[in-house]
């Protein structure tokens, strides 16, 4: 009886998504990022590719955590060869570190620019190119109109875009499919040994289109996301969800 109910609910949810204007990925061959229960937050339990993902990273520590998280995602996206563009001003990403997350740094092309306008232009141009695996952009601000421009380009080329927003002071709403915040958590010692353990992050999905926002703790070890645990909303000091 319970399974029948679940099936019915699942079908109804799909219908609701259709009514909301959500089109599932045409070749709905879900790429498994190993995100575990985080995927349940997304519509259809599928991590939305060919969409705009926003990451809030106001300080360098958060930027480092986001960089690590994105690199781990990129590593999966670029598994079957491919190139990725990393567009930014004042880039601090240190390429050799990305190998830790299973990403080949030589397959990333960095575009270092002087001002934000050029970054937006370059991002739009890059997203037009369907041969890219993904485009990562570091930006201070992105307006609704700018995000819509990017979204329109993405709809044609089906390239996944990750936007790291360095300035969350003037946080405008955008057309992003998901808004993330990744921050560091104290690591767990490996087998009780002293020293640093594997990186552990607090993953906040602040907004997700047609999905359910949530809070998780995730560790990254030996090339995969390791035990992913849901954090109850009151379990952690929730930051102002913007």
């Amino acid at each position: 009886m319970a399974t029948v109910k679940k099936e019915i609910i699942g079908k109804l949810q799909e219908q609701i998504l259709k009514l909301q204007g959500f089109k599932p990925e045409r070749n709905a061959h879900a790429t498994d990022f190993g995100l575990g229960i985080i995927s349940t937050a997304f519509p259809g339990n599928i991590f939305p590719l060919a969409a705009l993902h926003e990451f809030l990273a106001t300080n360098l520590e958060d930027a480092a955590a986001s960089g690590g998280f994105i690199s781990a995602l990129l590593a999966v996206l670029m598994k079957n060869n491919g190139v990725c563009l990393w567009i930014s001003t004042q880039r601090k990403i240190f390429p050799p570190s990305l190998i830790t997350f299973g990403l080949s740094p030589e397959r990333i092309i960095f575009i270092d620019l002087q001002n934000e306008r050029d970054v937006l232009w370059a991002t739009e141009e890059a997203l037009k190119c369907e041969s890219l695996a993904a485009v990562v952009t570091e930006l201070d601000e992105i307006s609704f109109a700018q995000s819509r421009r990017l979204q329109l380009v993405i709809e044609k080329s089906r390239v996944t875009a990750f936007v790291i927003r360095k300035n969350a002071e003037k946080l405008s709403s955008t057309l992003a499919a998901a808004r993330w915040r990744i921050s560091a958590m104290p690591s767990v010692a490996i087998d009780g040994l002293p020293g640093l353990g594997f990186p552990r992050w607090h993953v906040e999905l602040l907004k997700v289109k047609n999905g359910i926002p949530g809070n998780w703790i995730i560790a990254y070890a030996a090339g995969a996301f390791r035990p992913v645990t849901q954090v109850p909303f009151d379990g952690l000091k929730i930051r102002r969800a913007v």
């Binding site: 360098l60 520590e61 930027a63 480092a64 955590a65 960089g67 690590g68 998280f69 690199s71 079957n80 060869n81 491919g82 190139v83 601090k92 990403i93 240190f94 390429p95 050799p96 570190s97 990305l98 190998i99 830790t100 997350f101 080949s104 740094p105 030589e106 397959r107 990333i108 092309i109 960095f110 575009i111 270092d112 620019l113 050029d118 232009w121 370059a122 141009e125 890059a126 037009k128 190119c129 369907e130 041969s131 890219l132 921050s183 560091a184 958590m185 104290p186 690591s187 010692a189 002293p194 020293g195 640093l196 353990g197 990186p199 552990r200 992050w201 990254y220």
Partner: protein, 500 residues
Amino acid sequence: MQKRYMSIWFSTLLTDWIRIKRPALSHLPLVFSDKAGNRMVITAVSKEAALLGIHLGMPLADARAIVPNLEVIENQHHKTGKLLAALGGWCIRYTPLVGLEEDQGLILDISGCAHLWGGEREYLREIVNRLRGLGYHVRAAISDTMGTAWAISRYGKISPIIKSGEELNALLHLPPMALRISPMASQKLIKLGLKTIGSFISMPRSVLRRRIGEDSMERIEQVLGQKEEHFSPITVPEVYSERLASMEPISTRKGIEIAIEKLLSRLCSSLQKDGMGLRSALLQSYRIDGKVIKTGIGTNSPSINMSHLFKLFSLKIDQIEPKMGIELFTMDAVRFDQLDPGQESLWMAENGTGGQKVTELLDRLAGKLGAQAIQRYLPQPHHWPERSIKKVDSLTEPLSLPWRTDRLRPVQLLKVPEPVQVSAPIPDYPPMLFRYQGITHQVKKADGPERIEREWWLEKGEHRDYYQLEDADGKRYWLFRSGHYSSEKASQWFIHGFFA
């Protein structure tokens, strides 16, 4: 094909130039003077001054005595070469091969060019009229040999165009100086009463050689076309070069676009025949007022894709300012490479066309934002963090040594390490707390030290002892102490990076 040369003589180059620049000086007796040894000597004379009896090489003091209100411009002699080179560049619109000539002249290799202007007479008239319009006094002559063209442009009195094989006839009545022989030799000939070329040219060579020397004999043979002569062109034409002259001056964007399209299609088809692809191209727009606007594009891999190359140019059309109009476009393939369809490296994409699209995207980015914006990194065999990677231009350069995975490196690395305040216990222990940008971080976990020596053969300085630190929030930092711990002075600590 019979070679044809045109010689253009600027009889009063410097004075004409200064008059174009400063019209107030026209119709005044005008000379240029330069230092020769200890005194000022006249190096250029205007027509008006020459009529008053001033000649080249005369001391300036003497000239001033003859004409008290003489206009003198000093120390400009180096200008001659520059001016001629600029005028030579202007002449490129008439022929690709232009060279400088001794005694203020230009030599043009016009073989196969004149018919485009409707014949040699029209060609010569066009050039001379244009130059005169600019304000230069010029004389020009066309002939089979450079020597004859030189002679007729300087000394000729009848016709400036000498038909093939008639060089000798044209020269018969000219003075020996017209043969470009040394002044001594020509003086000698005149002293002997041989005042025209015709009076001695048919003499036996051995006799002449004894009188005027070997060098002068060589000049005579060159003038008559019995010995080959070469000049070095001021711009060496590119192997792949196309030109497009317009009937009417072009001053619209559409017009420029059409010109670029036409030139590109011709250039690409000639490159394709040889299996070559364009790496960088230069478009030169010759404006009607004499300016040349240069527009360059570059690609990341050889390409003969017309629409792509056109897109690169179209990003730069705004920089071409037509002003009065553009009368000639030339496009050179400055750099070209073997076009190899299999050259896309495997990492670019699963299928070959993908890599093509990526390089085209990068070309567009480079065209608008500059090639230095695009960076790719490969590992370098150095431990020093700043030197552990190198930039590479090429997108296809493979990994020559593997990325190091044995040491953890920070995701965010500061370009320059920033000093931090640290309280650390005894030597070689990691810090207990540190202060960075006004925030105190309690260190909960730490790894290290990892000592990295400075490469003494590259630079001097202290080594670094790196520690990986984790604070109470779980944020991870990369700090180092510069140099050894010493009890006398506090050691300097720096923050260098942030771990994920």
